[in-house]
Symmetry: C2
Subunit: 235 residues, 2 copies
């Protein structure tokens, strides 16, 4: 049974790492004593070891041990045998490049589809979509493909931001960028605001958190979906 | 003699398209009566024809005719024979994908290196750098390479934005993103604020406009360069 969380952000303003997600993590990882952490997105260039320590500290609070994927001699076998996963945020291009280079993207997808609980935040959520094409990140490295796990049948835009009223900046708004995507593609995009996450359990797929999400579909005006909405038919 | 402008933005807040650049364009395109416009970045999904009309209207004010690159049967030959170029902003991924697909990126580079005046704005400036890796745009399509013309020996971040004081948004700042780039690459990055442009004439390369630029180099703290500074040694 598929069981995963794809969250907009790891951290809310003024809170500690993963704090707001802890109740949801208690449910997701129930009965799991150890997970694999995927540190490849390296926010701010942090090392794999340091990033894994940061995740381990947060997971210790729910009684789950953490081992970094980079520490295994045979990461593909480690993924296939793992009891659960967490992929942290950072740079999506670096994350996707590393997973494809090591041949791990679809090994991870299969493990999650076979029932190992998965949580992603930000870049770690982007790879739950069909492609990484709606990341906000800078293309600091060139991945061999933008294709990602496709745990869901749409794409995510984490850290979704509404246009800022009165802004004099002439760069594109988030909405403009996603609309440009839909001139070239037909996959729907869900703008996931900070504090929101998607929760999948078996055939159920819902929007969680206190905020609505903004949905972008080709040929339609963007619209809002309230928290608690089913996303099972978005494709 | 190389002669080009790479501008942060086409339009300043409250102004018309290319208005603030008109004095610089008068110098750049002196003696030129027709240029090729490269419309491939398609901001907001605008058609190649409509985008070319918009450029033509602005260039009419300096007495220069405009023809869209998409209208030529043999665009490579057209580029080689052209008297000058302008590449408009929009989505850098779409621009770079189209230029590589049609085998035009290095034909254009050679024409500019051979002396045809070139102006780029935003995405059109990104392709003047070594790679497109410091664009702000969303990866809506997958280019065959991130390599660009390398008219300059560094990369550009157009529409450069300083961190917003007091922001509660947890997405990365522009500075964080560029610093992440420098954990994976050694090419310097110039953060070009709206209203600034780079001007090359022969061996001279300077920062123009009223604002300073922010320079990011591997292993150094970012620093500001005032307007008028030479950029000839940034590499």
């Amino acid at each position: 049974m598929k069981h995963f969380i794809l969250a907009s952000t790891s951290t809310l303003f003024g809170e500690t790492y993963l704090a707001y997600l802890q109740p949801a993590m208690n449910v997701l990882y129930e009965g799991v004593d150890e997970i694999i952490f995927i540190p490849f997105a390296r926010p701010g260039g942090i090392s794999h070891d340091d990033y894994t320590s940061k995740a381990a500290e947060a997971f210790a609070q729910i009684g789950v041990r953490v081992r970094g994927l980079h520490t295994f001699d045979d990461p593909a076998t480690a993924i296939s045998n793992a009891k659960g996963f967490f992929t942290g945020g950072g740079n999506t291009f670096l994350l996707v490049k590393t997973l494809h280079e090591q041949g791990l993207m679809y090994v991870l997808r299969d493990a999650v589809n076979n029932g190992a609980p998965y949580m992603g935040c930000s870049a770690g959520s982007n790879i739950g979509g069909v492609t990484m094409s709606n990341t906000n990140d800078m293309p600091i490295v060139y991945p061999s493909s933008f294709d990602t796990m496709g745990l869901i049948s749409f794409n995510l835009n984490p850290h979704y931001l509404d246009p800022i009223p009165g802004s004099q900046h002439m760069g594109e708004t988030r909405e403009t960028r996603i609309k440009e995507y839909l001139t070239q593609n037909t996959t729907p995009v869900l703008g996931l605001r900070e504090g929101s996450w998607i929760y999948a359990k078996g055939d159920s797929l819902t929007l969680e958190g206190a905020l609505s999400a903004r949905i972008f579909e080709a040929g339609k005006e963007p619209y809002e979906l309230p928290p608690g909405s089913s996303l099972a038919n978005l494709q």
